[in-house]
């Protein structure tokens, strides 16, 4: 046999007939059809009942959503319950007199003696 025959793009009737005869079921085809049709309703019923796989596929996103909600709740609760940090203005506000705020906002650099005096006064 030549290889060019094997590359033929058309079906080979002789080989096809021989293979068909070799693979052909020996029994009555009708019995096979009846056998399948006997399973018809059951197959459709099975298809409508969620299988464990389907339930499992629902379960995984459910767990993920619950975890996300838990984390979001925790973060929200922490934000609400934690007191806000003091503002920079409050931190710099003098107990009495002009104090630090006056030094920081001054046009000219402060005299060192004034700074030390201010600090000592605050103590």
């Amino acid at each position: 046999m030549k290889d060019s025959q094997a590359f033929d793009h058309r079906p080979d009737p002789e080989l096809g007939a021989a293979l068909r005869a070799a693979l052909e079921p020996k029994d009555d085809q009708k019995a096979f059809v009846v056998r399948i049709m006997a399973q018809y309703e059951r197959a459709l019923d099975r298809a409508t009942i969620p299988t464990l796989d389907v339930l499992a596929s629902w379960f995984r996103p459910g767990i993920a959503a619950a975890a996300a909600a838990l984390i979001a709740g925790f973060l929200l609760g922490r934000t609400v319950l934690t007191p806000a940090p003091a503002s920079i203005d409050a931190a710099m506000a003098p107990l009495e007199g002009p104090g630090l705020a006056a030094l920081v906002t001054a046009q000219d650099p402060p005299d060192a003696s004034v700074v030390f005096t201010s600090l000592v006064d605050q103590r």
Partner: protein, 184 residues
């Protein structure tokens, strides 16, 4: 086998709940599905179980069938997959060793026995090919599907299908030619 348009009509009726329409589809494709499953599995009983799995799986998935495409290749893909799954699950035994009397061209009492002997040889030869190769050659030379359709059924490139059919044919045609030389 019915036309593609008839198949689509039967699919639509089945989806509408007409049981008999599915019965006609099964009648049309039963022989083909059994042959394809047997090409994959070798054993005829396993093949019938796989063909049944394929038909019932197709029934359940029928709403997913794209009616712009022919029904046969879609169904055969499901059947071939069902057969492959069954082979993997059950680790189906390989083809039995060839009887030495058959290899040596023993006595041939009548035509039926000769045909039976040729069939046994071909089945054995098919069993020696890879699953993909034997399925490809059966789909091409027995069932008449195109290379492109077989590529879709087996989920492999069309060029690979051509190669698989080529190698399978070379082996099977050699066997067939030897047989014809020996025949009385």
């Amino acid at each position: 086998m019915g036309s593609s348009e008839e198949d689509k009509g039967l699919v639509a009726k089945t989806l509408a709940g007409e049981r008999d329409a599915f019965g006609i589809l099964v009648e049309r494709y039963a022989a083909q599905a059994r042959r394809v499953a047997r090409a994959v599995l070798g054993d005829p009983d396993d093949a019938d179980d796989a063909a049944q799995d394929g038909f019932l799986s197709a029934l359940v998935k029928l709403a997913q069938y794209d009616t712009r495409r022919p029904f046969g290749p879609w169904l055969m893909r499901i059947v071939a997959n069902a057969a492959t799954d069954r082979r993997r699950r059950r680790n189906v035994r390989q083809a039995e060793p060839l009887d030495p009397a058959l290899v040596g061209g023993g006595p041939r009492p009548d035509t039926a026995a000769i045909r039976s002997e040729l069939g046994a040889r071909l089945r054995t030869a098919l069993g020696e090919l890879s699953e993909r190769r034997r399925t490809a050659v059966v789909l091409f030379d027995v069932e008449g599907y195109s290379h492109a359709e077989i590529a879709g059924i087996l989920g492999i490139p069309e060029g690979t299908v051509r190669s698989e059919v080529f190698h399978a044919r070379r082996r099977l045609r050699t066997l067939l030619a030897d047989w014809k030389e020996q025949a009385p």
